[in-house]
């Protein structure tokens, strides 16, 4: 009896302590990436080694970096299953590029690839076609302050601005320079009329015509603002290394002021916001609203400072009642100039492709050719889970940027200084905002040394 009891006990112990490990559960996945170039852009032998490959897990922001081998390959052997953003940046030295291509350049040339919402649930192989993403203009965004300040003690969304910088060695004229807020899908839902990265497939928008690829060759804007000009186009010269500031509302936000409806807008903590009364330009949208929606009451925060020049509103969707920049990274930004003879007011308008019943009330977005664009910055949410499909083609911005504090943090995105030459700061412009931009803890419209990241 005693022996039997011991056997039963021993069996029980073994049963309980043994851990079955043979269940079929998910496993880490492997991802192999093969880099290739676009034959339409690269007709010569381009070395594919040394490309920086970045994966970001959209669920938790985990980032994996690797460098491609001589064959333009890299294999990640152990990744958590999930949804990823894949970015590739290949930088070719100017001398090497000149030798291989036969086209002289004194600046390094970047090729890039990016894809959002790549679902990796099993071992996967991806061919990444690299696109040329070289610097295209001498005007660049220096500072983008879209986040706004504290909603209760600061100025909330009202104190935003963009700073545009002359990164060349000659005086440029800001006349007719256009700032636009690009629009894209506001969620990561799957459905019809979408690209693989879950962004709208604009080619399926009703009435879409025109040359080129509707998704790669154009950007779609919800609001477009143009700096006025005179007949000669030399009204607003900007010296090399200098900048202009375009504010939503060009007033001193650190002090109370009277809104358009006559009521006072107070300020709880002046330290949290900024003085924009010295801005060069201001977006005053009420006159445009009166043209497009006569009789509509003025938006109370669309306040005009008569001492600051108003930009011309080329286009704005009806829901956008001032140059409000989305603080959550749901919009990207571009600057462009229309070519001579092209009136930006005549750029075509399209509804999103998911709108299949177009009428007078349908919201439409202005289509801007990539060939017009001088600079663009893809802005995303600091939290990977909240990031949306990218809005700008990689030829405009091969990466994306964000400030870690996010909405209403008072932080601003600032392009890094590459070098200082003869007292002039030359800002970094690799056409990849992931590497070109940093951030300031507090937006700085002073244009002084403190507004740079050296």
């Amino acid at each position: 009896m005693k022996t039997k009891f011991i056997y039963i006990l021993a069996f029980g112990v073994l049963f309980i302590t043994s851990c079955r490990k043979d269940k079929d559960i998910s496993q880490p996945v492997a991802l192999s990436i093969q880099l290739e170039t676009n034959p339409e852009e690269v007709s010569f032998d381009l070395p594919l080694a040394g490309a920086e490959i970045t994966l970001v897990n959209k669920a938790n922001g985990a980032e994996y970096k690797a460098v491609s081998n001589a064959g333009g390959q890299y294999a990640f052997s152990s990744l958590a299953p999930g949804t990823y953003t894949i970015s590739v940046l290949l930088t070719i030295d100017a001398q090497l590029y000149t030798e291989r291509s036969g086209n002289y350049t004194d600046k390094s040339v970047s090729f890039s690839y990016t894809m959002d919402n790549v679902s990796l649930l099993d071992d996967t192989s991806i061919t990444a076609i690299l696109s040329l993403s070289s610097q295209v203009g001498d005007w660049v965004f220096k500072q983008i302050y879209n986040y706004g300040s504290n909603t209760s003690q600061g100025a909330s969304f009202r104190d935003v601005f963009v700073e545009i910088y002359n990164n060349s060695n000659t005086t440029l004229y800001a006349d007719s320079l256009i700032f636009a807020i690009s629009y894209g899908k506001a969620n990561n839902n799957t459905g019809s009329y979408l690209l693989d990265n879950l962004q709208f497939d604009w080619s399926q928008s009703i009435g879409m015509t025109g040359p080129g690829d509707a998704n790669k060759d154009y950007v779609y804007a919800k609001a477009v603002y143009m700096i006025p000009s005179n007949d000669t186009g030399n009204r607003y010269p900007v010296a090399p290394g200098k900048s202009i500031i375009l504010a939503q509302t060009a007033i001193d936000h650190t002090k109370p002021y009277v809104a358009a409806d006559g009521r006072e807008v107070g300020i709880g903590d002046a330290e949290l916001t900024i003085d924009l009364s010295k801005a060069d330009f201001e977006a005053y949208q009420y006159p445009y609203e009166q043209k497009t929606q006569p009789g509509r009451a003025q938006y109370r925060f669309d306040v005009d400072n008569p001492d600051v020049t108003d930009v011309e509103v080329i286009y704005s969707i009806s829901g956008n009642r001032d140059m409000v920049l989305n603080p959550q990274g749901r919009e990207s930004f571009i600057i462009f100039k229309a070519p001579a003879g092209k009136d930006p007011n005549t750029l075509p308008l399209y509804a999103v492709p998911t709108d299949r019943d177009i009428n007078a009330e349908t919201t439409v977005y202005q289509q801007i050719p990539v060939s017009y664009i001088l600079d663009g910055v893809e802005v995303h949410h600091p939290i990977a889970t909240s990031r949306l499909p990218r809005r700008l083609p990689v030829s405009v911005d091969a990466g994306f940027t964000f400030a870690p504090g996010g909405q209403y943090s008072g932080q601003s995105l600032v392009r890094r200084t590459k070098e200082v030459f003869a007292g002039r700061r030359i800002l970094q412009d690799t056409n990849n905002s992931s590497v070109d931009f940093g951030y300031l803890e507090k937006a700085d419209p002073s244009k002084g040394n403190s507004s740079f990241i050296d």
Binding site: Q27, N60, L121, P382
Partner: protein, 502 residues
Amino acid sequence: MYGRICILLLVLFSGPASLLAQDTIRAESIMDSHLHRSIRMGILLPALAPDDSTSYGWLDLRFDQETGDFHRAQQAFSKSAIRLHTMGFNQLGRFRVAGDFRFEQVKEDSLANLLSGEGFDDLRPYYYFATKHSHYTKQGFLARARIDYELIRNKLALGLGIRHRTYWAAGTVDPRPRVELFNLELSPGVLLIFDQTKVGLDFRWARGTEDIHVTYKNRNYGTGISDPSRIRYINLGYGTMSTLDTASLRKYNDLTGLSLSFKTEWQDWLLQSVFVYEKSRQYNSHNIVRRSNYYIRSSFDLETIDTRILISKETEKMAQQIGLALTWQDGQDFSTALARTNYLARASDMAADYSVHLRKRHRLQYELGMKWALDRDYRKDGGQAHEIDYSVHTFGLSGGLHLAGVKQHYRFSVSPYYRHPGRVEASFPVTQLNIFSEAVAIPDFIYAGAKAMGLDLRMDYVDKNIFKSYETVFYLQYGHLRSAEKISRTRNYFQAGMALGL
């Protein structure tokens, strides 16, 4: 609101127990730990109740405190609690009425990596965590009651049990969680009596919900990543996690099970055993609006087997008792996003103890005991390739001295124990390390592998003068646990309380 509910339940449960406890068995033996252990095992499982027990009542109010740096990653540095526990039963003709009520208010200081109401050793995933150390207040009660009716005298009884648990927790530092848990269980059962042998079979059915909301007083913490310690994560397994995902979660818990209880007495021997099997499923959702057709992000199935055996033998000279306990849990999740299982969790705990109480009828009495426990914990997160397999042995001895008088009774005990790690295996690939690995998995790996020595000292004082009908116990306990590491860590435990044997 909670206070009123607690007072009401206290009256409901402790009142009848004390009023009906006039025939309390062996009221003089409040310090008879063997007897109390036997009776308590059968309060809500009448098949296990000793034959000579017709009523029992106990009320215990105590203060607990523990503090020190030798703790797991999801355990507070310091914790204090006020606990009230009352239980009892009585036989009223053919009816047997029993109740057990527990209330606790816990304050935890410097707790990180767990924004949950449940304890750190819960196998279930899908909870919030942040690395910020915070202060928490937790409060809950557990009320259990059971009524049995003897349908055929000394042959057959039918019973119905009810169990209600409510738990509430809140943190005071961003990110600050608010947790509300509610659970209700019904357990109809049947009891068969064969002379001195009883067999009980109970079926269990439970449902519950747990709502967790995380808020930020400083809203910037919830919308940015400037301060990594304030970022809230959802642990979806053992390493798989999402960052600043939804701010609200709801869990739906379903449980079915049965318990088989068996008791027999023969001469001086008493054998009590219970076998419990439970199968539970937890549905995890971030959909807090709908209570039907809600979106299921993941589910977690858990099977539990719990077996306890207590063998007691009592003679005039000595009382002996052997206790065996065995708990086995096996769980796995199903992730909707991955469309497969990603997380496995198993735990098996075993414990055996032997104690002897010598010279029970004398003024000077002795108690000697020994115990052994094995706790094993296995977790695997497939996608994140995290795997742990820990086991810890605890060996302990105990010695007690009783000074029994007519109106007073003193008991002093000392219990040294040794904690020895058994299997300590873990796998965290470098490519898969994340904040959970660094904040929880690796510190717990270090904790699991630490040897430690502990000592518990306890003093009980029984006074029969304070209340004429009841014995009053005052007790103090102090425990010290020290790890045998290069830089040793310690944990101190203190307990003070008062109990009434009703």
